[in-house]
């Protein structure tokens, strides 16, 4: 009604957004893109940026679950193994009767969700430290992989998986649509449902949450199950993008997911943060990786450059935190 106050509140909100960690991280990504495009013309080509976003969508999916877990005060070290299990076992779960391939995808996602659920039960009910529980789960899954890996003598050509990994409806990779869809859902759960609030609450102060009636164990369990689900989805996408799953396909995603979460401003101690920061965090990571790839230097120097860039960009996007 009152235009001057609404304008004032708009500027206040706008300045809040502009100084927020997610925005700063996003701005950093754009800055790096701009600088890199000037220095290496091919880098800024639409096709390349599109590919970077497509790659980021895999990290983004894995990091979605990781963001939930970290906000809830835990950490999931089984993510890499879950991604691999998903990509490797999907062909084994295919049913010939279903030509679309949807059932195989659903079966895989149900399986990885149950793996996550197992993590959650261990953390919530056995009270095993999340690091230990998820590390042990990763070890179990390695055992499982020995059994199932290489068992697929017949490569199953799942049309839906192939479509997810390769199609570009409206010029945009299908994986990016999956990521956007999941992101919308994640942001909705995180910020617009009681479940999201409970997750923040148990991460910030589990004891106070329990005394406020928050179902601590149930919420913890759900969080790890979500992480299993998103890691499974990332595995499906990776399978599609590479045409073939293999053991070790998920390995790069453990540290990447943690890095994306923390680069995006979520506190590793839990209770604070948002997936809105993790998204540009994931973009930042793939961008740095691509940048390092096109630099002509020895492996040692490239590694040093990568580490230094992460550190410098952390300083840029993390400046807000320093000021406090």
């Amino acid at each position: 009604m009152n235009s001057s106050t609404s304008a004032a509140s708009f500027t206040r909100r706008a300045s809040m957004v502009l100084r927020s960690r997610p925005f700063l991280t996003f701005a950093t990504v754009l800055l790096v893109w701009a600088v890199a495009s000037v220095m290496r013309p091919g880098f800024g080509a639409f096709g390349h940026l599109r590919y970077l976003v497509e790659l980021a969508s895999v990290i983004g999916l894995v990091a979605a679950g990781q963001t939930f877990v970290v906000i809830a005060g835990g950490i999931d070290l089984s993510i890499a193994a879950i991604v691999t299990v998903s990509a490797v076992s999907l062909p084994l779960l295919s049913i010939d009767a279903d030509p679309t391939g949807l059932t195989a995808i659903l079966a895989t996602l149900v399986m990885t969700t149950f793996i996550g659920l197992g993590n959650g039960l261990g953390v919530a009910y056995l009270r095993v430290h999340p690091m230990i529980m998820t590390l042990a789960m990763a070890t179990f899954l390695q055992g499982l992989l020995i059994i199932i890996a290489g068992g697929s003598a017949i490569s199953s050509q799942n049309p839906l998986v192939a479509w997810l990994g390769n199609a570009r409806p409206a010029g945009i990779p299908a994986g990016v649509f999956v990521w956007l869809g999941v992101s919308a859902l994640v942001l909705l759960i995180m910020h617009a449902t009681p479940l999201g609030t409970r997750i923040y609450a148990i991460g910030a102060n589990p004891l106070a949450s329990r005394l406020s009636g928050v179902p601590l164990q149930a919420t913890t369990t759900v969080v790890y199950a979500i992480s299993g689900f998103t890691a499974g989805l990332a595995g499906v996408l990776l399978l599609g993008m590479n045409g073939q799953g293999y053991v070790g396909i998920g390995d790069p995603y453990l540290l990447a997911s943690i890095a994306a979460v923390v680069l995006g401003g979520t506190s590793i101690l839990g209770g604070l943060g948002t997936y809105a920061g993790t998204m540009p965090g994931a973009l930042l990571l793939v961008t740095i990786t691509a940048l390092i790839t096109v630099v002509n230097a020895s492996a040692g120097w490239r590694s040093i450059l990568f580490g230094s860039l992460v550190l410098i960009l952390l300083l840029l996007s993390g400046r807000e935190k320093v000021r406090r």
């Binding site: 449902t193 009681p194 102060n205 949450s209």
Partner: protein
């Protein structure tokens, strides 16, 4: 004593946080052999002033002087070197270290660069016995109840043999007997020429102990005078800026015959075989020395710690709640004593704190309605007089307002039984008065209120009935007519009612 310069002084200091002024042009002077009171409402800036005096934070403007000489860059280490010791309001003890290691922290005796445990044992032991801390010195502080940790904190200050001793609400978590030990100790130190600055919300204590008073209101010094010739009402007037009413409300009992909770043979934690009936419309007090199992009784009733009972009924349902969610569903709410650790999510906005019990029981994936949430929260804030922007983190609230949030958050759920664990700990008089009125209001609305309190006058003036717990057992039940501080203390220490001096 005859030095003209104060041992420690602040001259015209100001401090603001994120642009909010918390102290404006405040001066204070601490002289040897004098106990100086610093009073003010929650959030008046007392702790902040102390932080400036002890070098924990730099002042924006103004100077800190030691023995009349301005100190350009005050730091905790510099303060220590000058013989200034602080008992912080926020405990600075480390749970995993032993009592002795905590007491000596920051100034260990050394030999060849290594902590001299023999010497430490002797000196920390001496400091500990000064405050009546008789637990083994090797015990980790994490194993001690809150009140005892506070004593460690005080011993830590004494260990440094300070010239200036600053105590920020040292008594708020102490039992009566511990508080008495402290009072005697401070008198003795005063006699030895130590300059003492004492903060408390318990005015009788202040009146009995202090000679001089500085009063802050909204970060501005409103009084700096001798305490002689002023009474408690006068102090309150200076603190709140208007005439105080009675601290305790007048009330008539609203107790009905209906039973809210009945337990028989109840055991939980330290509590053994307790039988108890709680009626609707009553305020039931729970008294006793600190750490006798009072808290376990509340937590057991609340389903937060495992409890066993031979028979139980809660609001008409048979059996005790087995989890917190069940207790909430049965209409029980609990407000913990330790606000920061158990009561609130201090890094989260006030509004989510207020609404958390609602989120805890709502369907997990139903969409939130921010507008409705805002209305509920605003209503609660108005009813409980919680001021300011509700989107700030709860951290930004003063202790008393935090306590109000911890209480208010249960109100939308109309609990029939309120379990309150020391709800006025560290709360200023005005807020106390508000809380007292609310408690009686709850009772007259037909709720059952269980009030665990370390502040005996509260039990005397607010309760329909008080049970006293000693060594995990209910040893005495006092009706309103029989209530007096002596009676409660006598029951608490196990003396015969006639032998009131314990």
């Amino acid at each position: 004593m005859a030095t003209d310069a104060p041992y420690l002084a602040a001259r015209g200091v100001s401090k603001s946080f994120f642009g909010n002024p918390v102290l404006r042009d405040v001066s204070i002077e601490l002289y040897p052999g004098r106990i100086h009171a610093l009073l003010g409402e929650n959030g008046a800036g007392k702790s902040t002033l102390i932080n400036l005096l002890s070098g924990a934070m730099p002042a924006d403007r103004g100077t800190i002087e030691i023995d009349g000489n301005p100190v350009p860059r005050m730091s905790p280490a510099a303060a220590q070197a000058a013989g200034i010791a602080v008992v912080q309001q926020e405990l600075s003890v480390t749970g995993s270290l032993s009592i002795a290691e905590n007491i000596g922290l920051g100034s260990y005796p050394r030999r060849f660069g290594i902590i001299d445990y023999t010497e430490l044992s002797a000196r920390a032991g001496a400091a500990a016995s000064l405050v009546g801390l008789h637990e083994p010195l090797s015990m980790p502080v994490g194993n001690l109840p809150l009140g005892r940790r506070q004593m460690v904190e005080i011993a830590k200050a004494l260990y440094r043999k300070p010239r200036v001793l600053i105590l920020d609400e040292p008594t708020s978590s102490l039992s009566a007997s511990e508080a008495r030990i402290l009072t005697e100790l401070l008198q003795k130190l005063k006699g030895e020429g130590v300059a003492i600055l004492f903060i408390s919300h318990r005015l009788p204590e202040v009146m009995a102990l202090c000679q001089h008073v500085t009063i802050l209101k909204d970060g501005v010094r409103t009084a700096d005078r001798s305490i002689a010739g002023i009474d408690a009402d006068g102090l309150v007037r200076l603190m709140v800026g208007r005439d105080p009413g009675d601290l305790f409300p007048h009330w008539t009992t609203a107790r009905s015959r209906a039973k809210a909770i009945v337990i028989k043979g109840f055991s939980s934690g330290l509590i053994r075989e307790a039988d108890l009936e709680i009626k609707t419309g009553e305020v039931l007090g729970i008294g006793g020395l600190a750490g006798q199992g009072q808290e376990d009784l509340l937590l057991g009733l609340y389903g937060a710690t495992p409890a066993e009972t031979s028979a139980a009924e809660v609001n008409g349902n048979a059996g005790l709640p087995r989890s917190v969610s069940q207790a909430n569903a049965m209409g029980i709410a609990y407000v913990p004593a330790d606000r920061k650790r158990e009561g609130l999510h201090i890094s989260h906005p006030i509004i989510t704190n207020l609404l958390l019990p609602g989120f805890a029981r709502a369907a997990a994936l139903r969409l939130r309605n921010r507008i409705k949430e805002g209305e509920i929260a605003k209503g609660l804030a108005a009813h409980f007089a919680i001021k300011g922007d509700l989107d700030r983190p709860a951290q930004a609230l003063s202790g008393g307002n935090q306590q109000k949030v911890a209480l208010a958050k249960w109100m939308p759920h109309q609990p029939q039984v309120l379990l309150l664990n020391d709800p006025t700990r560290g709360v200023d008089v005005e807020t106390k008065r508000e809380i007292y009125i609310m408690l009686r209001q709850f009772a007259s609305d037909g709720k059952a209120v269980v009030l665990l309190s370390s502040d005996t006058p509260e039990l005397v003036h607010l309760c329909d009935r008080v049970v006293v717990i000693r060594e995990g057992r209910i040893v005495s039940e006092l009706q309103r007519a029989d209530l007096s501080e002596q009676a409660i203390v006598a029951a608490a220490v196990g003396a015969e009612p006639t032998v009131t001096a314990a």
